[in-house]
Structure formats: C-alpha cells, structure tokens
Symmetry: C2
Subunit: 275 residues, 2 copies
C-alpha cells in the first residue's frame, strides 16, 4: 500500500474505531490489574549473567512498512583520503528494530526523548504465538494468549513490557517479512489484536508492547487500530524486535536503548535482554 | 577549525606521531595488566537498584566538533494532516552522546554494528579530574590520574570502560562546550593524554574510554593522537557522555545502547549506568 493509500484508509477508519472503543466493556482487562507496590528495576534479584541482543542489524535494504528504502548512507570523509572515516545518514524514524513513541500517533504525546528512563528498563513477558503464526500469517496475539501466559507463568509482572514472539524475525532477510499478498498491496504478518492491547491497557503498569514484525498491528490491518489505542495512552511500542526465541517466557529484564532525540516520534534502538 | 583545516593538520602530524609511538617504552602500562579470568557481566553481584541516564538529549543545535549543524529534521507526516507524525533525520554519526568505532580511524576496523555485545556492557571506572579542569580547560587525564584512581579503588576491573569526568557536561548548552580560543580556530576542553591512552592499551581487557567532552583528545590537539592510537587497536570510544558526576568512582555497570548500523563508524547512543 502506498503512503497516500495508508493515510486515507486510516482517516476513513478512525472515527468508527474510536466509537467502538468508547462503548467497549474491556472486561478482559480486569484479570491483569497491577498492584501499587514499587517495582524493582530488574526482574532478577541477583545480577544477570547473560546479555542477549534483541536488535536486527540495520542497513540500507532493511525491509520497511511502506516498502521504500528508509536508510541512506553518505560518506563524508574516507580514511584513504582524509585519515578518518565519517558518514552522514538519512534515516526514517520507523526503520529497523525501533521505538514507536506516543507522539507517533498523537498530536502532543511524549516524544522518544521524553520517555522516562525507568520506562526503558522492564521485566520482559514473551508470549509465544509461533504455532498459530506458522499456519496463518494473519494470526494475532489475543486476550486468550495473554491468559495462557498468565496461567503458565503467574500474573504479569508490574511495569513489564509484553512482547509477541511470532517467529517472524526468521524472515527478516526475505520478502516474507512484508509478505505482500496477491493483491499487491495488503501485507500479511502477525500483530497484536486490538482486544489484547485494550486488555493490557487496563493493567496500568504495562509500559510497552513489542512485536517481531513490522507493525504493532497485524499486516492486513486497515486502520492501525492498536497504534491508535496504545500510543495515545502514553505508552510506547517496539517493532521488529529480534531474537525473542532465545529468551524465557518470564524472568528476563529488557533494557531499551531508545534514541534520545528531541521531537522524534521514535527511532532505531539498541535493545538488550538480561537473563 | 574548518573540516579541511582539521584534515590537513591531522595528515601533517600523523607520521611524526606514529614514529613517536614506535619508540615509546609504554612502561606506565605495566601496572594495569588484566588477569585472564572471565569477567562477570555486571560489576554488582545483586541486581542493580538504580539506573542513571548518561545521555545528553540530542537536537539540531547540539554543539559539534566541527562547529556546523549535524542534525536535521524533516517532518514527512503530521498528525493534523495525516493522523500520525513521522520524521526523517539526517545525522552525522559523530554527534551528541555517541560512539567512535574502530572504523572511524582505521581502514578496515570494526564498524559500530560489529562491536561484540559483551563489549557494550562493562564495569565503569570514573576518573574525576574536575579540580584541575576547572582551572585549566586544556587539562588532560594522565597516567598519574589513573594511578591515583587505582590507589583509592584497587586494580582496574577486568573488561572495564574508563571514563574521564572533567565536569564539561555542565557546559553543553553554552559556547564553553567547544570553548573556541582567541585565535578563532583552536578549541580548549579536556581529554585523555596520549600516555594515559597508551597505558590503558597495555591493559588488554579495557574495552573503551569515554569523555564528557567533544573528543577523546583534548580540544587543542593538533593530531588526534588518542584517536589514532586507541581506535585502530580495536577498542572503541564514547564522546559527550553525560551525568558521570552522579556515579561512584567504582562499582557501576555501563550499558551502551550503540546503534547497530551496518558500516557506521559510530553514532548517537543511549547509554545507561546501573548502580
């Protein structure tokens, strides 16, 4: 879908979608209410023993939501000629493993630089939907997937980040990462179901949601429903997170090296998990 | 100093400087030799209780080494018109709180994306030279400053990053950060003395050096001596690190959110210290 088509489709769907949410009971959220106790910084009590890199290498051909190139290198100095190398880069904020700040989908939400440091460090919840995503590229993480996680692992930790592991990271170097359908405009990859996002918003301490695909919303979404609900609430998102399959479902600590760039609506980030 | 002047000065000085090092005894380094034991990931044994942000906010007027603007914002979509905000940024790699990768000063050294993850997590050594830097903008961190630190705090921890706290971070919003001299071309701010860098290179496990100024070399350096010694050795540097004054001299763990950008010689980074 071209830039213009996406924008027009989003506009057409927003009023309808907003009316739906005003009337929604959001009952599913009740099970995930957080306590008022201050959360520890790390999920662990002992110092972590291992670091995992949850960041894809970013490069000029990294797949993008809109399909066009979003990273451009311009070498300004070269070692052979100048005795040092130096480049200037032109980069779309929403490229590679990156943050969506509240400002991305709101008039005056927080920029990525305004996210509090304590929101960038969090217990990581990994919800594995690989089995259903393998058979269905349009699979979504639903409230039932959250319930299955809590049944197996206990309540969501206070102040956590909830990540969808769909297995899509394995496709980052192929066309399947965008997975354009036969109509030549609709993408097919997993994302959060709007009802799951709403349920997590009822747990006031959930800091962010993360996906291993190109968008918080599943690929065929016509309206960015999850973006439009989650980001204006003041929370942030992470897209194209890597390497979740190396982590336990519970117990890791996420550290999000978000760019501290004034007025940015997001940006490529270096993301670690400590186990 | 303009880009061209810097390059020409560096070229003129490199051969002389390299000859000097080939003849140097480097005796000062012997006191800092590392052990062969594997280092733990964190400086602490218990999980850290507090995070400090060591990153300056980056913006279009952030002071730069060359003096010219190095960050440019181009808004591509706006919430009012398009229902979402999105910017493209043009950024010089060596701007704001950022990394110098070995490739910055070598023909084929590692890019910032090639730095091993374990090199981005390290015990942090903070060497405080604020007292001498307050009276002398040309102050340098010398081997004697390293010796004073080890006398007070014990051996350098294995795999550490050694940071210079000159107090210059307080000047980031004023002309004193660059501190151009009366000649209109020479800058005056603290940096590592080449002999201190050489001493730390004798301790094979020191991963990086960091400064709270615009350059690993002090401002009036005519030849990037520290850059030319340290970076080609395969180690990296951090420039314009913030907030070191909030940390203990020893005991904090540094986590460097370096950009994972293919072929980049460095780049703005989000840097945390855990205490």
């Amino acid at each position: 879908m071209c830039h213009h088509c996406v924008v027009e489709t989003v506009k057409a769907n927003m009023l309808t979608r907003r009316a739906f949410f005003r009337g929604s009971a959001l009952a599913a959220g009740a099970a995930f209410a957080a306590t008022a106790l201050p959360a520890p910084l790390f999920a662990q009590t002992s110092a972590p023993q291992k670091a995992e890199d949850l960041t894809h290498e970013l490069h000029e051909k990294f797949p993008t939501f809109f399909g066009d190139q979003q990273v451009f290198k311009d070498q300004k100095f070269s070692f052979a000629k100048d005795t040092f190398n130096l480049n200037e880069w032109r980069i779309n904020e929403h490229t590679g493993t990156h943050i969506d700040a509240p400002l991305h989908f709101s008039a005056d939400g927080r920029s990525v630089a305004e996210l509090p440091v304590q929101d960038l460090i969090a217990p990581l919840v990994v919800i594995d939907i690989r089995e259903k995503a393998q058979d269905n590229a349009d699979a979504q993480l639903t409230p039932d997937d959250i319930k299955a996680w809590t049944k197996a692992n206990g309540d969501l930790p206070q102040g956590c980040v909830v990540a969808m592991l769909s297995g899509w990271g394995a496709h980052v170097a192929t066309d399947k990462f965008r997975n354009l359908g036969e109509d030549g405009k609709t993408m097919h990859f997993p994302g959060f179901h709007i009802e799951a996002a709403q349920a997590l918003m009822e747990a006031p301490s959930v800091k962010a949601i993360a996906v291993d695909t190109l968008s918080l919303d599943f690929g065929q979404s016509p309206d960015f429903a999850v973006h439009n609900a989650w980001l204006p609430s003041g929370r942030y998102g992470i897209e194209a997170i890597a390497n979740l399959e190396s982590l336990p479902a519970s117990g890791a600590t996420l550290v999000v090296g978000a760019p501290k760039l004034r007025e940015a609506t997001g940006g490529p980030a270096r993301i670690f998990a400590f186990v």
